[in-house]
């Protein structure tokens, strides 16, 4: 077995461990019902943390073996970066656990990490050779520091989500209930994205089409999802390939749109199924799990993770980024979309801190802000890398 196979297996071990740990935490909270079994609850919780740590070590093992195998830090394509982000998120959770000793944090942190890793695995997993501009030790320093900063900031959203799940009354109609359910619906959509990719991959779906791009050049494209939307003037190359239902104009990348629509479709079906089976909103389903959490403490954990993560993010995503940009291109700032979105993230958390310190935005307001902040981080990862063209574009 070569090093890259070992690396892949370690990642699988990590994924399974996080899955088991999630169930264990669920169990620890379930058994904390007022039958006086608090001792059993802590035992389940401790076991969950141990399993999480084992998963994290396996994940770290994946990272290091892949690094040794490829000779370059494994953060340079979508699969590698997103997987690493998931790892740092788990690392941040473990760190916060040892600071505050609350397992409930894992109830949200672990599933989110699972979704992130699952989504990462949908991208091509080979090692990509580095273009000249990425051949720098700043790749290692800048990307890892920025990702660590982002993952600690993400913990504030984890704490915020738990906070909101507890305080927002799932039975009372209102804006808050709607938006919180919308956040969870969004998570289901990502699960839908993964499910659709896995399913079509399992049946080996692949069709090739040629199309005319906006510069009127003929190109080819591979569809791994059946085409609801076809590229501009597309013609099937694969024999017996399905005709797209709707053809899109050249300035829309129909293949990406197709994936988004499939995710929405599958995600919505999943969501509707959950609603039909449980006969409850998801927030109502989760509400009993967070009843025992201490709100004051979760508010503080949310704030604390912004305090810890913000300086690291500033250092990694802005300062180190500027130093590298100066070294590679002779300008420390070039208004590249990724740079702009790093600045937006930074400005947003600066606003969070000022609102909290001076305007007393604590509790619910703070928790909502933390969720929006995580939304910006995810936007910066997904949309800026895959949709907006720029220096950090992987599309």
């Amino acid at each position: 077995m070569s090093l890259i196979d070992i690396s892949g297996n370690l990642l699988f071990v990590a994924f399974v461990a996080y899955l088991v740990a999630t169930l264990l935490i669920g169990g620890s909270i379930k058994s904390a019902k007022p039958d006086g079994a608090a001792g059993r609850a802590t035992k389940w919780g401790q076991l969950a943390i141990i399993v999480t740590i084992i998963g994290f070590l396996a994940h770290l093992g994946y990272f290091i073996t892949r690094w040794i195998y490829s000779g370059q830090v494994p953060v340079s394509n979508m699969f590698e970066f997103t997987t690493a982000f998931g790892m740092f998120l788990i690392g941040a959770f473990i760190y916060m656990y040892f600071m505050y000793r609350v397992t409930a944090l894992g109830l949200v942190a672990l599933p989110i990490a699972l979704i992130i890793i699952g989504w990462a695995a949908m991208f091509p997993r080979e090692v990509t050779p580095l273009v000249p501009s990425l051949q720098s030790h700043w790749l290692t320093i800048h990307v890892i520091t920025a990702a660590i900063g982002q993952s600690i900031l993400a913990i504030s959203a984890v704490a915020g989500l738990i906070y909101l799940l507890k305080v927002i009354d799932a039975k009372k109609k209102g804006k808050e209930r709607f938006w919180l359910e919308a956040v969870l619906y969004f998570l289901v959509i990502i699960v839908g994205n993964i499910a659709a990719s896995v399913a079509f991959n399992a049946v080996g779906y692949e069709d090739r089409y040629s199309y005319i791009n906006k510069d009127e050049i003929e190109l080819q494209i591979i569809y791994n999802h059946p085409p609801i939307f076809g590229m501009n003037e597309s013609t099937a190359i694969t024999e017996g390939a399905m005709e797209p239902l709707i053809e899109m104009p050249a300035f829309i990348h129909a293949q990406k749109l197709n994936i988004v629509v499939w995710s929405l479709l599958v995600g919505t079906i999943l969501y509707v199924l959950i609603r039909l089976i449980a006969r409850k909103r998801i927030i109502e389903l989760l509400n009993p799990l967070v009843q025992k959490v201490n709100l004051q403490l979760f508010d503080e954990i949310g704030y604390r993770s912004v305090l810890i993560g913000f300086p690291i993010f500033s250092l990694g995503a802005l300062v180190f980024a500027m130093i590298w940009a100066q070294e590679a291109w002779g300008r420390f700032w070039g208004w590249d979309p990724k740079e702009v979105w790093a600045l937006i993230t930074w400005l947003f958390y600066a606003a969070y801190l000022h609102l909290r310190l001076s305007k007393g935005w604590e509790g619910k307001k703070s928790a909502w802000l933390a969720l929006i902040g995580f939304g910006i981080i995810i936007f910066n990862l997904v949309v800026v890398n895959l949709v907006i063209a720029g220096l950090h574009s992987y599309a």
């Binding site: 004051q296 002779g330 001076s358 305007k359």
Partner: protein, 550 residues
């Protein structure tokens, strides 16, 4: 100025919320609060006390955190709009019309709207810069407005505080010691607090323990750093502060470096290397055949000798030899040369044969250097070719029927020759471009033609030359910013007030600017060690009570 006289007799400036002497709340609001607002305890903020003159109004506007946050949010939203479509500097088009066309063809009517609204060059618009400037002013004003009173309140803290102050702290304990001799309590409290790195001060039977006070200065330090950084960015735009030039250099060529007076650069060779990997899935999907591995220009940097005339290329002194690569610029004397672009197989020379159209007899060959063409090429006494016009980047005929060139680069050279031969001593005019020979008026009667025989190509390297005198300022600003951020984020300002009352009872109050979880752990340890009465967290207990009421 008016004063507020506290019950203890101390005079406080107007606008003070908490008496700087004893800590009694001075406002009705403060008196009704269960837990005091401790931000600037004992000091008045200028913006809250002056509200008359125009200057006061401007000051109050910029000192408001609400305004500051609003500016941050506006800037954030505006910045995001600039990423919807590529900004103009990422667009290859050179002319205004070309840019307009780019947005129209790529993004349709939305693109045109984007371009016409000026959003395609958003970050250099005056209003974007005004927004950044306003945020800068807000940072300065708010920091002075709040920083000075904060400094005052922190440096003139009294040890002994009034019970109305103590009881309005979030953490409060009152009662008898739970064990042992009460007369020793203060001694053991002090011992324990010192072990936990608190600085302890006494005033009779009262003590104040404090640690991490410097962390309160963190936000102000990081604001200073930000202002220095913004100052550097502003200075950058002044003339003479920076150089931003670019040059194309061909293999083997020696050229003066633009923006770097007295320096010359010789390019020995441009090198392009590619990875020899098996194509990855991403490569196949995107139709990318090979991935670049290295862009490199091997160069020699020369300096003119001090007594040389400007532009003189004799007597050049070698400064250094270097291989410029991406991420590895050539650095000298504050200037840096970056590998930015390249062109392979750039046309260098073209060779033509002066040929008799009927017989095919060749009178001779001429070779034209496309960057430095000569005006005539002599073959022998009676035979020569005059180069009458040269169009390096021929793009067809203009409205007046004259040939035109798009750029000075020899991408598609075209020539008008006058061929002087023994048979035609007055000369014959011929227009020659790649793939076509259009002869002048009545040219079909030409006896001779310029037959294309060969081309010689060369590689070119695109370099940028940069110098920025503001970099040191940016580094200082960035460093101070990070330092302040770390100080403000990773340390907490914790204070514990303890008083032993006449009857031996203990009153303890504690405050921290953040991380209540941490201070509570310390007070827990203190309580256990010195057998103090159990404290209550007024905010948490309040919430618990609310829940029970529901």
């Amino acid at each position: 100025m008016e004063k507020i006289v506290c019950a203890c007799g101390h005079e406080n400036p107007l606008g003070t919320k908490i008496c700087s002497n004893c800590g009694r709340p001075l406002t009705e609001e403060g008196k009704s609060q269960k837990v005091l607002d401790m931000k600037y305890d004992g000091s008045a903020i200028r913006s809250k006390t002056h509200n008359k003159s125009f200057v006061d109004k401007v000051w109050n506007f910029f000192s408001s955190v609400k305004v500051g946050v609003a500016l941050i949010i506006i800037l954030l939203v505006v910045a995001s709009i600039g990423t919807i479509f590529p900004q103009e500097f990422f667009v290859a088009a050179g002319t205004e019309a070309g840019k307009a066309l780019y947005y129209e063809t790529n993004y349709g009517s939305l693109g045109t709207l984007y371009y016409n609204l000026g959003l395609s060059d958003l970050y250099s618009t005056w209003w974007f810069q005004v927004l950044v400037g306003m945020l800068g002013v807000s940072i300065i004003v708010a920091s002075i407005d709040r920083g000075i009173p904060l400094h005052k309140s922190l440096t003139k803290q009294r040890v002994k505080r009034h019970e109305s102050f103590m009881r309005r702290q979030r953490i409060i304990a009152e009662g008898a010691v739970t064990e042992g001799d009460p007369s020793k309590t203060l001694y053991s409290v002090e011992e324990k607090l010192k072990k936990m790195n608190y600085k302890v001060r006494h005033d009779g039977s009262a003590l104040l323990a404090e640690k991490g006070r410097f962390s309160r200065y963190g936000p102000y330090i990081n604001h200073v750093g930000l202002i220095i950084f913004l100052l550097g960015v502003m200075l950058h735009q002044l003339p003479g502060m920076h150089v931003d030039e670019s040059m194309w250099i061909r293999d083997g060529e020696t050229r003066a470096i633009p923006g770097m007076d007295g320096y010359f650069l010789e390019s020995k060779k441009f090198i392009l290397e590619t990875h020899d990997n098996d194509p990855t899935t991403a490569q196949i999907q995107q139709g990318v055949a090979v991935i670049a591995k290295n862009y490199q220009t091997d160069v020699v940097l020369y300096k003119q000798s001090d007594d040389a005339l400007p532009g003189e290329t004799n007597n050049l002194e070698v400064v250094k030899e270097y291989s410029i690569r991406v991420n590895h610029p050539l650095e000298h004397d504050g200037y840096s040369l970056y590998q930015m672009d390249y062109r392979l197989n750039e046309l260098k020379e073209m060779t033509f044969s002066l040929t008799n159209k009927e017989t095919g007899t060749v009178l001779g060959n001429i070779t034209i250097d496309l960057r430095n063409p000569k005006s005539e090429y002599v073959i022998d006494e009676n035979t020569k070719v005059e180069l009458m016009e040269y169009y390096p980047d021929y793009t067809g005929f203009n409205d007046e029927g004259k040939p035109q060139t798009a750029t000075p680069n020899p991408n598609n050279p075209a020539f008008i020759f006058n061929m002087i031969t023994p048979e035609k001593p007055k000369g014959e005019i011929s227009f020659v471009a790649i793939q076509q020979t259009v002869e002048g008026s009545g040219a079909s009667e030409n006896t001779y033609k310029m037959a294309f025989t060969g081309v010689d190509t060369i590689n070119m390297s695109g370099l940028t030359i940069r110098m920025d005198k503001t970099i040191p300022l940016l580094i200082v600003g960035g460093f101070i910013f990070l330092l302040g951020l770390a100080i403000g984020s990773y340390w907490n300002h914790r204070r514990v007030w303890i008083e032993q009352l006449a009857d031996g009872q203990i009153r303890l109050a504690a405050h921290t600017n953040k991380n209540w979880f941490g201070i509570k752990k310390e007070i827990d340890a203190l309580t256990e060690y010195a057998h103090l009465p159990q404290y209550v967290d007024q905010l948490v207990d309040e919430k618990e009570k609310e829940k029970k009421d529901e």
